[in-house]
C-alpha cells in the first residue's frame, strides 16, 4: 500500500525532503515504516532519538498499524511558543 510521509524541522535536513511517497507492506506498523525510511535516508540512521509520530494528523505510537492511514508524519521535539 502507498503512504505519504512528512518530515519536519531537522528531519527535513536529515532526509533532504519535506514529503515523499512510499510503498509499504499491508500490515506494517510505524516502526517498520521507519526502518524502510532509514534504508532510503542515511541521515536517519545516525539519529540518537526516536521522533514522535502522527498518523493522519493525530499523535500515534511506533506500534500503531498503518492499515487505512494516508499520511504519516515524523515530528522532532516541538519548539513552538
Amino acid at each position: 500500500m502507498k503512504l505519504r510521509v512528512r518530515f519536519f524541522a531537522s528531519l527535513t535536513d536529515l532526509t533532504g525532503t519535506v514529503s515523499e511517497e512510499i510503498e509499504i507492506a499491508e500490515g506494517a506498523d510505524v516502526a517498520q515504516l521507519w526502518t524502510a525510511l532509514a534504508e532510503r535516508h542515511a541521515g536517519l540512521r545516525g539519529m540518537d532519538y526516536r521522533p514522535m509520530v502522527a498518523c493522519d494528523r493525530v499523535y500515534a505510537s511506533w506500534s500503531t498499524p498503518l492499515a487505512g492511514v494516508a499520511e504519516v508524519a515524523f515530528l522532532p521535539p516541538v519548539s513552538g511558543g
Binding site: A9, W62, P76, G80, G81
Partner: protein
C-alpha cells in the same frame, strides 16, 4: 478563535475574541522573540508548523483548559514563517468571571502548547541557522 498566521499578532483582536460582559478578567500571554539565546545574538526566527494538526492540537488544549478551569473563552494565535526580534510569535487570551482561573488557564495553555503542538522554530544568527528542538525522547528502535 484558533489561528496560525504569517501576519503580526494584534493583541486587541485576541482580547476582543474572548471578552464578554459576564467576565471579570482577561489574561493575555505573548511569547516574544528575544535578541539573545544562549548568549548568541539572534537575527530572527522562522516558524514551521504541521498545518491542520497544529490547529487540532490547539483545539484539544483549549478544550482541556475549558474543562479544567472555570473560564469563558480562549483565543490562540501562533505565527508561522519569519518573526522579527521583539514581535510576538504566539498570543493567548483567556476570559473568565474571576482572575485566578484566567491566569492559571493562560499558563496551562502556553505550557501545554510548548510540549505538544507540532510547531518548530529555526533560529537565524550571523553566519547560519539551527532548528531549535525540545528535549529529546528515547532512541529509535534498532538504533
Amino acid at each position: 478563535m484558533i489561528r496560525l498566521q504569517t501576519a503580526p499578532i494584534e493583541t486587541a483582536e485576541l482580547i476582543a475574541a474572548v471578552r464578554g460582559d459576564g467576565d471579570g478578567a482577561v489574561a493575555l500571554f505573548l511569547g516574544t522573540v528575544r535578541n539573545l539565546n544562549r548568549e548568541r545574538r539572534v537575527l530572527y526566527l522562522e516558524y514551521q508548523s504541521y498545518e491542520g494538526m497544529a490547529e487540532s492540537e490547539l483545539e484539544r488544549i483549549v478544550h482541556e483548559a475549558t474543562g479544567k478551569f472555570t473560564i469563558s473563552r480562549v483565543a490562540v494565535i501562533h505565527r508561522t514563517g519569519r518573526v522579527e526580534i521583539g514581535e510576538a510569535s504566539v498570543g493567548i487570551a483567556v476570559s473568565a468571571p474571576h482572575r485566578a482561573p484566567a491566569l492559571e488557564a493562560c499558563r496551562f495553555v502556553i505550557d501545554t502548547l510548548k510540549c505538544t503542538v507540532p510547531i518548530w522554530k529555526r533560529e537565524h544568527f550571523e553566519g547560519g541557522a539551527v532548528w531549535i528542538e525540545g528535549p529529546e525522547g528515547p532512541p529509535p528502535p534498532g538504533s
